[in-house]
Amino acid sequence: MIIHHPILGPRDAQEFVYLGDAALMNRPDGMTAGIEEFHDWLYNRDNPAGEHQELWYHEQGDRSWLVVTRNTVTHEITKVELARDVARSKGRSK
């Protein structure tokens, strides 16, 4: 597979490490959320057959974490963003 890195252009997926569903970036706040909320966030998945937003890490590249929008049936990739930008757009900060 080839991932079109927003900064570096097309790079072989072999250079990346896969984590999973990008929903993992919505980590609850440990000071306010409890076990139930953390459990649902960490363990349960939509696991769609179709479009899937997922986290990839460019370990053999520039060490950027990316959010890749990929179809799990065709493997077609339609969007690649820097995870840091997506996280900020979701209101994550410090």
Partner: protein
């Protein structure tokens, strides 16, 4: 300065040189290296300080040469800066003095082994080593890549001039990989 004698990554006192067919592989033991990473929100400040100190901060996937400082991009708002080891063994301190708190600076000199490859045309070798479209890459192209399972930085100085940074601890394995690929390529 100190009484400690340096040892190359290949375990010798002198840098190694290997010739395989048309390619010459030269270990570079005279390169000082440090990482410079902008502190959050202080990129402009860093650019100013770097400019003043003559430290280039090239765009993504690029290398810019200079004297004494050359640099290549390694990550967003992060660069590896090269300088001659003889004059800049303390490159981290020297750069830190220049950029102050606008950036985090870390010595990287001995984390790496450096090989310069020279041949009339290195394309036949590069296509066997790594997944970089070498013929299409411009001079000054700099990228992290993988050579025989080893993470490396590759800098294209010309069609016949390439510098490779590999993990110092794997220097022997990397040199072996370069040599056998060169033997097969020509």
């Amino acid at each position: 300065m100190a009484e400690l004698q340096a040892m190359t990554a290949l375990g010798a006192r002198q840098a190694a040189v290997a010739v395989v067919g048309p390619v010459t592989i030269t270990e570079r033991f005279d390169v000082a290296l440090a990482s410079v990473a902008a502190r959050r929100g202080r990129m402009a400040e860093l650019e100013g300080a770097a400019k003043a100190a003559g430290v280039p901060l090239p765009e993504a996937a690029r290398y810019t040469g200079g004297t004494p400082y050359s640099a290549f991009w390694v990550a967003p708002e992060m660069w590896f800066v090269e300088a001659p080891h003889a004059t800049h063994e303390l490159i981290a301190d020297q750069l830190k003095a220049a950029v102050g708190n606008a950036a985090s600076v870390t010595e990287q000199t001995d984390a790496w082994v450096v090989f310069d490859l020279a041949a009339p045309d290195l394309a036949p070798l590069m296509e066997r080593l790594c997944n970089v479209d070498f013929p299409a890459a411009p001079d000054g192209f700099a990228s992290r890549t993988v050579i025989e399972h080893m993470g490396c930085y590759l800098i294209r100085h010309g069609r016949g001039q390439v510098r490779i940074y590999g993990a110092r601890s794997s220097a022997q394995s990397l040199l072996h990989a370069l040599e056998v690929a060169a033997a097969a390529a020509w």
